[in-house]
């Protein structure tokens, strides 16, 4: 707790005071973050292997074996392409793995998100209460204002939709952001004070 408090106070001081030695300390600590982050990935790898092995022990089917082995095959592929070719992670071989596999899988998963949004939007916009009616009215006006057909035949929908966006939406959002920021600040002060219960519990 003492280390956390000292580190935190130094970082807060570096934010408020543009004094070169403090900025230097901030720079060193930022470098440590990168080192700690990289070093702990190995620990994550151990946890991943433990849970994958347990899952296979529970279900010794061929399919589960494929699920278990696949991440390690791709891990080895990425590792070898980064270490065995000149240029490391900038080598054409590594870039091929990254562009053709990682990026494409990522893009596919990202695209699935829009299907999940559509099904949840259907549930959310079902007219089941006064709040749902208000939500659907605001949502429809906000959405329809972007469609040229409605812009031509119902021109007043454009300023009304803009008003929903800029007044109730922005006002409510700012209130929520300020409230969450204040709460975060209180947690921060409690941590600097050495009284953050979560950190005490975790030892």
């Amino acid at each position: 707790m003492i280390i956390i408090a000292i580190t935190g106070i130094l970082m807060v001081a570096a934010y408020f005071i543009p004094w070169a030695p403090l900025q230097g300390v901030k720079g060193v600590m930022t470098s440590w973050i990168v080192v700690i982050s990289a070093a702990t990935v190995a620990m994550g790898f151990v946890y991943m292997t433990t849970s994958q092995y347990k899952l296979y022990q529970k279900n010794r089917s061929t399919l589960q074996l494929v699920y278990t082995v696949t991440p390690y095959v791709f891990f080895a592929g990425f590792l070898i392409s980064a270490l065995a070719y000149p240029g490391g992670s900038n080598s054409p071989e590594y870039r091929w793995w990254f562009t053709n596999i990682y990026s494409n899988v990522g893009a596919t998963i990202y695209a699935i998100m829009y299907f999940t949004l559509a099904s949840s939007a259907y549930r959310t916009f079902r007219v089941s209460s006064m709040e749902a009616i208000a939500l659907i009215a605001g949502g429809m006006i906000y959405t329809l204002r972007q469609i040229p057909l409605f812009q031509v035949y119902i021109p007043w929908i454009v300023p009304l939709g803009e008003w929903f966006l800029l007044v109730p939406n922005t006002g409510g959002g700012r209130g929520a952001v300020i409230a969450a920021a204040l709460a975060a600040l209180v947690v921060g002060i409690r941590t600097l004070w050495g009284k953050e219960v979560t950190l005490e519990v975790s030892g």
């Binding site: 408020f16 946890y47 347990k54 990522g106 929520a176 204040l182």
Partner: protein
Amino acid sequence: MLLGILADGTLQPLILLAVLTAATYVYNKKAYAGEIKADQLREIPAIAAITEGVGKSVEENKPVHYAMGASGGQLYSQLVSMTLVALAFLNYIAKLCAKYEAQLIVHMPYQAESIPLIEAMVREGYKAEGKQEAFQPSCLRYYGQGALSWTQAVTASYDQEGVGLNLSIGIFYSDCPISLEMAKIKGALNVGGTGRWIMVYAFAMMCDYVFLGQEIYVAGAIISENPLMLAGVWIEDLGKFYSLLLLGVGLIVGLLGVSAAAALFAL
């Protein structure tokens, strides 16, 4: 003199920090004196829903899933407070799972440096219920870097192992719409929230019970039953009143066109 030392634009944040630090001192003293209690706060339905969800998981013989976000293990960013709240919830759900003998699966964030804290919170939860032996390290799942690989792994876990309760609290980006909706499709009771306002929409749409924005901090204080964390709620409110005061004064000053005083607010 002071203005010469401070970086540009940091006077107002410093005043706010001083106000909240002073309030922390006062309210911590009140907390130690036993003047602050959880029953002074309004009830949040989502807290009761967590216990209900654990019961549902036991009845259906399905696991309880806990996720704090693919990048929910941030220990050195502006969002660290959300990581700490997520850890408090993890401790709470571990206690409930130990108490009701439900299987717990924790989907850990890709910041591996937070793993020791996560494991400690789960172990502590089981220990608090006197069931240390029930803790299985394999319940802690790590999936490596990347929000979208995390999403794939989490949804695969819902599909393969089933999901009774899905509790998602913490730092969420585009990982939450897929994981929350998939849990819903697989029949889970979805309870969750994030302090990141931009992603609250996903929780509001996809969760059966939601903690809206700052509510995760309040709920974290309530479930901890710790007077110092509860005192934090009063301190936050004081900060809100201070912000309202600034807004009011700024509005009046702006309307009067007092440029020098208005410039003070920009400091």
